[in-house]
Symmetry: C2
Subunit: 384 residues, 2 copies
Amino acid sequence: MTTHTWRKTSTRLADGRELIYYDDSEPYASGGATRRLDDPRPLPDRFADVEAGAAALAPIMRRDPLTGEWIPMAAHRMNRTFLPPADANPLAPARPGADYSDGEIPDTDYDVVVFENRFPSLLHVPGVPDEVTLVDGQDLFEQRPAAGRCEVVCFSPDATTSLKDVGEGRMRTIIEAWADRTTALEALPHVEQVFCFENRGEEIGVTLHHPHGQIYGYPYVTPRTQQMVGPARRHREETGRSLLDDIRAAELASGERVVAESEHWVLFVPFAARWPVELHLVPRRRVRSLPELTDAERADLAPFYLRMLAAADRFFARPLPYVAGWHQGPPALGDLLGLHLELLSIRRSPEKLKYLAGSESGMGAWVSDTTSERIAARMREVWA
Amino acid sequence: MTTHTWRKTSTRLADGRELIYYDDSEPYASGGATRRLDDPRPLPDRFADVEAGAAALAPIMRRDPLTGEWIPMAAHRMNRTFLPPADANPLAPARPGADYSDGEIPDTDYDVVVFENRFPSLLHVPGVPDEVTLVDGQDLFEQRPAAGRCEVVCFSPDATTSLKDVGEGRMRTIIEAWADRTTALEALPHVEQVFCFENRGEEIGVTLHHPHGQIYGYPYVTPRTQQMVGPARRHREETGRSLLDDIRAAELASGERVVAESEHWVLFVPFAARWPVELHLVPRRRVRSLPELTDAERADLAPFYLRMLAAADRFFARPLPYVAGWHQGPPALGDLLGLHLELLSIRRSPEKLKYLAGSESGMGAWVSDTTSERIAARMREVWA
């Protein structure tokens, strides 16, 4: 196992947002060069007007009385004052000599960088109390500040590459950044669950091709995670064991849906895959979250993750549109739910997409047009 | 109130599927002419080979051990032997003199017709026991026949019209058909929940433009409905009242999100709308299901429903892609959950669609880019 050297440098953008460099290349990694930390853009402090009433612009969320779900309503995002021209790339390093007005990252290069989203749907505004208010005086109409956090993770300074091609060392740095930000966001008093994910592909509405992901710190436990609480609790009560441990063991015992294994990780198509392509990546040792992974588990994950993405692009012999997200147990649930990644794609053939139809959109009831075993067989075929 | 006269005529297609005419026009409605009931296509009986092993082709569903959800896996649908040519319309009435081989409906015209889907994701196959089996001998891997029912509802014989333009009398017949099929499907021993819905728009993958809807009889309670059980139960325990009653009362008291009212129906944007356009249509009197609606409630619904669809198409001054579905309480839950319709659209501007991104796809956590009040204000503007 090789040692991975990286260095973290934090700063704030002109409007007060946090930006953090995660460097793994010289001369930055060893401190031989310093990061440009000042953002010369004339952006007003985003909270300057809080006392004057800008708090009213803080994102809010409402509880759906029918289901209990919290729905952030980011109406302020529709009033974006900053719309980069179509050919601008706000995630690119600033060009040497440029006035930095066209980019979010005030340096001429970077390795991996994380910063707060300029138009977040979840945002804690200082001084805005995290309290439920009743809209129109109705007990059923609960509203609260959507006091979470939305961050952007740039995977590479190269706008034309793809995460699968960033190389093992850079991937390792990205894993460190995910883990570090998970620790930071879980420490925020209003965050209940941290989700690190990547969205890729024009087919799912991604218009910015620069390789990047996002991190959401939700001020609630998400509906998908809440669905997982009941079965995990029942399984523990009945068997005393962890459900995710037993699912991994059952998949390994069956073998039918296992795509690949590494020393510390297992990749399989879940028994009841909902999407035309769906992969679950699970560590052999149960942990709640990314920060709990050991050095050895992280070192092993980096190349395995890249192989997974490369194979996914061979599935239909063309870049796969996908959502890949890390499910981490919400801290308040202790060790009930374990860390795993889910990669989903709506592509169901080289030419066709799965659209969410009435059953999926209206009833949340998924119908698969394929089987888990077919997906697994194809993934094994293209694994390299 | 006018009396609505309609007549129901049932038959079976060559392969054994049920087909039911709901006629409201002369000479069919009064029995002055008979429906063509024989399907001359040389389709083999779909269950002919059951004893020889075709039961193995019956759709199955698997329980996701992480969430408890049942996922039908309709792999056999990928092996469709029947693929109509691109310009064929299997929902059109057969052409006079045609050999009927290009259509599903063996008559030269019809008013409203319902038939079993030829490639259903849910299907009860006679003789296949409705039992859970364990895949690979693993307790966590439960599989069962997906023993439900999928039906198609043709709203009009005219392939070029739209549901909003079928006229009040025809709409009333469609309501009668929905109610009648709900009664029939709820009576099937393997069906737990009936969902009547319409999917419209190329933007959501609908390629068949003939105005039609679908009815699913699920052999389980859907995830969306299961989400509604907890809040409805808690509300009843705490107040003794129905949650849907109190939501309707609260929306009427507030008024902010109410779009329109009729004698028996209220149309509002829900307090916590998840979609860029979302409408809930609720009867003033609480009922569990469509068959429980009185004549007066049905007569009032027909024109109100058409006005809703017409206004929806004016929202962005172009046909709105939408899913509109009737939430009916599963019979096993008694009167816990009440009847209401939800209309959802992914269109968020005349040019843009809302794509499900990482938060929605990965975590089931919706983020709205607008507010319920903005949607309601626009709907009131275009209401006529």
